[in-house]
């Protein structure tokens, strides 16, 4: 495809003679010489023109030549004075008198008598003086006859220079290429109007520079961590778990009491959870009485329902598990919940005030501790953690309890989740008689290692550019 300027150059060549100097093309087309150099090379490489280097003599006026052009040559000026006393003529012409006299004599234009110059010719005849004409021609860019040239060069009025020049000659294929684009519209981009109204055959699309970088395009995309959470949910659904949810504002009853966490348990201290004003309504008295009983019997203190009613931002998604239990799920129930939990901390690269937890619950008459371990191994395997080991652990609401360690490349064994069989002190008051296994895990750290993130705040990033340009996980 020919560019605009290529077409212009070819057209000029065809119309102004098939061969032209570059500077001629430049002055006709208005394209600067530097640009023409590269266009000519391009056309040459396409075989549309022939490029020839010629050495050429250029003639131009010297500084004195320019002066003579304006004033006239001294011999012409001399005869223009008419019959004149030599002394007077010398006064008028100064140094030029001698030059003028010498050339006027050589031309046979004057004779001298009694200290006077007497012209032999009419001053008008100097109008046809070849040297004057030659000077003028050079000034106009032309080249005079060789005799005049020699004389003017010897008189120091004209300079000869030799230089290399490039000429372009349009070739046969150049002619053809030009014919092909003849009468067509050259456009930058296709438009609807062109396609519909002007006939697509009359369009030539201008060549485009396709090698430069584009302007910035801000992409719209899913949030990587949010999506990670959604994917996790899907994995759990694929393992037969049903999602359950509950609110961020929770009663201590579900966050702690139902989970057999004594009211003076260190984890219940004021600085370990966010308090909310107001109090909640406890569930049916049977469950409350059951919870009171196990607390008082095993932890040996007076259980206070006012503490259980206090409101807080849930500090563990296990609160959702407790709520699910209070609904007396039948044998065969498999639940999970994934969501935000809140704990007072100082926000920095490794700590947040809110993060995401995943909790699960299996209630089944045939469930046991070994099945729980097997289930956990399956779950971790499904989320890409194939190597796990199980460590005995302690949680107030499970027994036996276990911590799951997963092997992560570059990190080694990382504690990933806690689990266990729910204590009868938890299931009993809820009226659940089947064995129940439960597990919970923090998601944020796992996601950090998955995404190679060092600062946990980036999971909830406020930085638009970071979110726009974060490398997509494949």
């Amino acid at each position: 495809m020919l560019s605009d300027s290529e077409i212009r150059v070819l057209t000029i060549l065809r119309e102004k003679g098939n061969t032209l100097h570059l500077n001629e093309i430049s002055s006709i087309s208005g394209i600067p010489l530097e640009g023409l150099q590269s266009i000519s090379e391009l056309l040459n490489s396409k075989g549309l023109v022939r490029v020839e280097e010629v050495t050429e003599e250029l003639v131009s006026l010297t500084e004195e030549g320019n002066k003579r052009l304006v004033e006239g040559l001294p011999e012409v000026r001399l005869i223009g004075l008419g019959e004149i006393d030599i002394k007077r003529a010398k006064e008028l012409m100064g140094q030029d008198f001698e030059i003028g006299l010498s050339w006027a004599k050589r031309n046979g234009w004057v004779s001298i008598s009694n200290s006077k110059l007497i012209p032999n010719v009419d001053p008008e005849s100097a109008n046809n003086y070849p040297l004057s004409k030659a000077l003028k021609k050079v000034a106009e860019g032309g080249r005079p006859d060789e005799d005049s040239l020699k004389i003017l060069v010897s008189r120091g009025l004209i300079r000869r220079d030799r230089r290399k020049m490039r000429t372009l000659t349009i070739t046969k294929s150049g002619m053809e290429a030009l014919r092909e684009v003849e009468g067509k519209k050259i456009v930058g981009n296709l438009t609807h109007d062109l396609l519909v109204n002007r006939g697509k055959d009359n369009i030539i699309l201008r060549e485009k520079n396709v090698e430069t970088f584009p302007p910035t395009f801000p992409i719209a995309r899913r949030h990587y961590f949010r999506q990670f959470l959604e994917d996790l949910k899907d994995i759990l659904r694929s393992l037969g778990f049903t999602e359950i949810t509950s609110g961020y504002v929770e009663m201590e009853f579900y966050n702690f009491d139902m989970l057999f966490q004594a009211q003076d348990h260190p984890a219940r201290e004021i600085h370990d959870s966010f308090s909310i004003e107001g109090e909640g309504k406890l569930p049916d008295p049977e469950i409350v009485a059951g919870v009171r009983d196990v607390h008082e019997r095993f932890w040996k203190y007076r259980w206070d329902d006012r503490i259980a009613k206090r409101l807080m931002l849930r500090s563990q998604t296990t609160a959702s598990t407790a709520r699910a239990l209070s609904q007396r799920p039948p044998s065969g129930s498999r639940f999970f919940t994934l969501g935000r939990v809140f704990r007072p901390d100082d926000l920095d690269a490794t700590h947040l005030l809110e993060f995401n937890q995943l909790d699960g619950l299996i209630v089944d008459d045939l469930f046991n501790f070994r099945m729980l371990l097997g289930t956990l191994r399956e779950i971790f395997s499904s989320i890409g953690i194939k190597d796990v080991k199980f460590k005995p652990a302690y949680f107030p609401f499970t027994e036996p309890s276990v911590e799951i360690y997963g092997f992560m490349e570059g990190l080694g064994w990382v504690e990933m989740a806690g689990a266990g069989m729910l204590r009868e002190e938890v299931t009993g008051p809820a009226g659940v008689n089947s064995p129940a296994g439960a597990w919970g895990m923090g998601i944020d750290r796992m996601a950090m290692s998955r995404f190679g993130i060092k600062d946990i705040r980036e999971l909830y990033s406020n930085k638009v550019e970071f979110l726009r340009w974060l490398k997509q996980q494949r």
Partner: protein, 559 residues
């Protein structure tokens, strides 16, 4: 988890283990983790239920069992010291016990460990000394003429030399000027009096505040008197048992004290008099092998259960169909049959319990309609050219309008409330991104918290909010994509100018529309007020929209 530091060399020698990896493996099986802490010390994390392992004596006892070197319940001989301890009327911290441990050989390291043991018990079962406080005294420095210790409230004018001081101070001064006094004094004050452990007229300690300098432990100490006081009979007694049995594991000989006047119940009615510590009266748990087998998921009989428990240093006897488990004094964490199940599982080894195959139900559980809607909304929003955000639910009350949940004990002003709208989250993000390539088109889907009629009075409501920031923005720029999203979801919304400024909280009233579907307002779209732009520090105009997904779902269900 509770962290203790022990010298590697002495612990390994004490345990008879010579490989760090082997130590690490045994501790792992005992719920603990160990790592090298430098300078020849180990950092060991002990699980909060295994208080007996806060001292190397307890660690040794447990490791001996797992290694099979010494199995079964550890029994400790006790002698009668002929010392008495008389408990007075101390209503604020009524319970006190004591014991004497002889034959100790302390060096710098074991003395340091003993103090660490005491402090770790204070922070765990002691609930930072609120529930239980421990005093350990050099017995030789207590006047043995009377052989009687008393525990009673004393007036604040009484004087003694507190531990670490070089002059006599009044109790009042101790409470007001010493660090421990300020930290713990309030736990003990009652009617301008404070409990004290006394020997004659000498104050040995004022629990839970501080001991006396007089009975300071040194490496020359051979016998100690331990006082344990507090608000819970069980916790105080459990602490005494753990301390005495752990010290017995490192060579100490337990000598009992006749304790008089223990309030058995609270309020005080009966008073009892007995020798403590008393290991003869053990709590028993009847375990059914069939239940244990079913709970763990493997074949077990009475005999194997007894053997496994022996490895955990728990005594048990097989009585045909049942197993009678005697809870050792150092294992107060064992409360029910279920706790026994865990110990058996640990003795077997969790790694040996993992089944080769579990029959996991497959097949996807169904998505709730609300979840399906959320997914569609997110997908369509991205299709409409909005970048997804995922930000914090907690925010600053200064960015919220209308009513919202306030946090009573915030950690910072930046996070002292729970969002009732996602718009402020978007505005905060926009404010921080004013030099990025424009336009900035954002959305976030998530929960806001609003008052409702639930048992806690608040509900999580799913919302989705959009914002566009550019050199110039207009209502229609956002209305168009939002309209399309709603349209493809199957609703044909109407727009009505808001009549009430309480609906256009962030936006210009005359440039804000309610999004109506069948006359139900499901959200708003509007251009931001100049004052709000200024409040959020925004120098570019912004248009926002927000939709209540619950209401949207309601109108979708009508069809």
């Amino acid at each position: 988890m509770v962290t203790i530091y022990l010298k590697e060399e002495s612990l390994m020698k004490h345990l008879g283990i010579y490989e760090f990896d082997q130590l690490s493996d045994f501790l792992f099986r005992l719920k603990s983790e160990v790592k090298k802490a430098g300078e020849g010390r180990l950092e060991i994390e002990i699980n909060a239920d295994r208080l007996d392992m806060l001292h190397s004596g307890g660690i040794k006892r447990a490791v001996d069992g797992l290694m099979g070197r010494i199995v079964g319940e550890a029994s400790y001989e006790t002698s009668n010291s002929s010392w008495k301890m008389v408990i007075g009327d101390v209503p604020q911290r009524p319970f006190a016990f004591g014991c004497i441990i002889n034959n100790l050989s302390l060096d710098d390291e074991s003395l340091k460990e003993l103090i660490q043991f005491q402090e770790k018990l204070h922070t765990t079962i002691g609930r930072k000394r609120r529930k239980v406080a421990i005093g350990i005294h050099d017995l030789s420095k207590i006047d043995s003429g009377v052989r009687e210790i008393t525990y009673r409230n004393i007036p604040l004018q009484e004087k003694f030399i507190p531990l670490g001081q070089n002059r006599e101070m009044s109790v009042k001064d101790v409470l007001e000027t010493l660090e421990q006094g300020k930290a713990y004094g309030h736990l003990a004050l009652y009617d301008e009096r404070i409990p004290a452990i006394m020997s004659g007229d000498n104050i040995l300690s004022i629990p839970p505040v501080i001991n006396s300098e007089r009975t300071r432990l040194t490496i020359d100490t051979k016998s100690v008197f331990v006082d344990v006081t507090g608000t819970s009979y069980e916790a105080v007694l459990q602490t005494l048992n753990i301390i005495s049995t752990d010290l017995a594991e490192v060579g100490g000989r337990i000598s009992q004290i006749q304790v008089k006047g223990i309030p058995v119940n609270n309020p005080i009615e009966e008073k009892e008099e007995r020798l403590y510590p008393d290991f003869s009266d053990k709590k028993k748990i009847i375990v059914q092998p069939e239940h244990v087998a079913r709970s763990i998921g493997m074949e077990l009989n009475s005999q194997s259960i007894v053997e496994y428990l022996a490895k955990m240093r728990v005594g048990a006897e097989s009585l045909g169909d049942i197993v009678n488990v005697k809870i050792p004094p150092y294992r107060p964490d064992i409360m029910t049959q279920r706790d026994v199940v865990e110990d058996i599982s640990m003795a077997i080894g969790y790694d040996k319990l993992v089944p080769n195959d579990v029959n996991m139900p497959r097949g996807r559980s169904e998505l709730k309609p609300s979840e399906r809607l959320t997914r569609s909304l997110r997908e369509l929003s991205i299709g409409a050219g909005f970048l997804e955000l995922f930000t914090f639910v907690m925010t600053s009350d200064s960015s919220l309008r209308g009513s919202y949940v306030k946090i009573l004990n915030p950690r910072s002003e930046m996070f002292n409330a729970v969002r009732n709208s996602i718009i402020p989250n978007l505005l905060n993000v926009l404010a921080q991104n004013q030099s990025v390539t424009m336009p900035v088109r954002l959305f976030e889907e998530g929960f806001v918290v609003k008052p409702c009629t639930s048992d806690v009075g608040y509900c999580n409501i799913p919302y989705i909010a959009f914002a566009i920031m550019d050199n110039e923005v207009s209502f229609e720029q956002l209305q168009a994509p939002v309209h399309s999203i709603l349209k493809v979801l199957g609703v044909e919304p109407q727009y009505r100018r808001v009549q009430d400024s309480s609906i256009a909280l962030y936006t210009i009233q005359s440039r804000t529309a309610q999004i109506l579907v069948d006359n139900l307002s499901i959200g708003i779209i509007g251009e931001l007020k100049i004052e709000e732009l200024e409040k959020f520090g925004l120098q570019y105009p912004v248009v926002v929209a927000e939709i209540d997904e619950e209401k949207l779902l309601r109108v979708l269900k009508r069809e």
